[in-house]
Symmetry: C2
DNA sequence: CTGAATCCAACGGGATACTG
DNA sequence: CAGTATCCCGTTGGATTCAG
């Protein structure tokens, strides 16, 4: 992850938090509000390998974007969901989606 | 630059366009609307080397975020300014700045 | 003044196999 | 089920020097 503390301006903190090949996908999956399990991400993002998936989830967790809840059942259950800070990113991601749509129209 | 055409969802196109160590700074500098010259970026971003500055400017130009105008005077003058697509990014960058402010308050 | 050329280091991401 | 452990590779960013 790009280091937020060497950001030259504040918006780069936000960029640092969301930059990562699968982070936007993960946040999008969690945007419904339903807690999701590790296997759910694997099914919905079949191209991401376990190591990378764990890496992206941990970085988002450390950044305070999502929580990781462990239920010590057998077999173990782990659930991820967005924090308040993570939910606050959703309007930005939606704005990015709208911008990309008009951008793609113009340039293709 | 991350390849926009391998994006898994549309917002990643936007992320691909703005991801780069100095791109947000460049767009922020151009956000006033005044055309700016190469040397202006060098003065205001003293840590970026010529190669990298050129690289970031070219990628933004190729993405259609800014224009590069060459005036064949002696010495040559080159001016950069935001396109309409580039201007459309400003509300998103401002939203990212606001999010980062409340985020930094919570986590520090 | 506005870059280009060369060489190099660091980091993020990935393939594959294995585990509590 | 939900990850770890190794090894590997491409891309990005950077230092330095040179040029139209």
């Amino acid at each position: 992850m790009m280091d937020p503390f060497q950001a030259h301006c504040e918006m780069e903190v936000t960029l640092a938090v969301i930059s990562g090949k699968w982070k936007a996908d993960i946040v999008r999956i969690l945007s419904e509000g339903t807690p999701r399990r590790y296997g759910f991400f694997q099914k919905n993002l079949p191209e991401v390998t376990p190591k990378i998936l764990t890496n992206q989830l941990r970085e988002l967790e450390n950044a305070g974007i999502l929580t990781r809840a462990i239920y010590p059942e057998v077999p173990v259950r782990v659930e991820y969901q967005l924090t308040e800070a993570g939910t606050g990113l959703l309007p930005i991601l939606e704005a990015m989606e709208r911008w990309a749509q008009s951008y793609t129209k113009k340039f293709q």
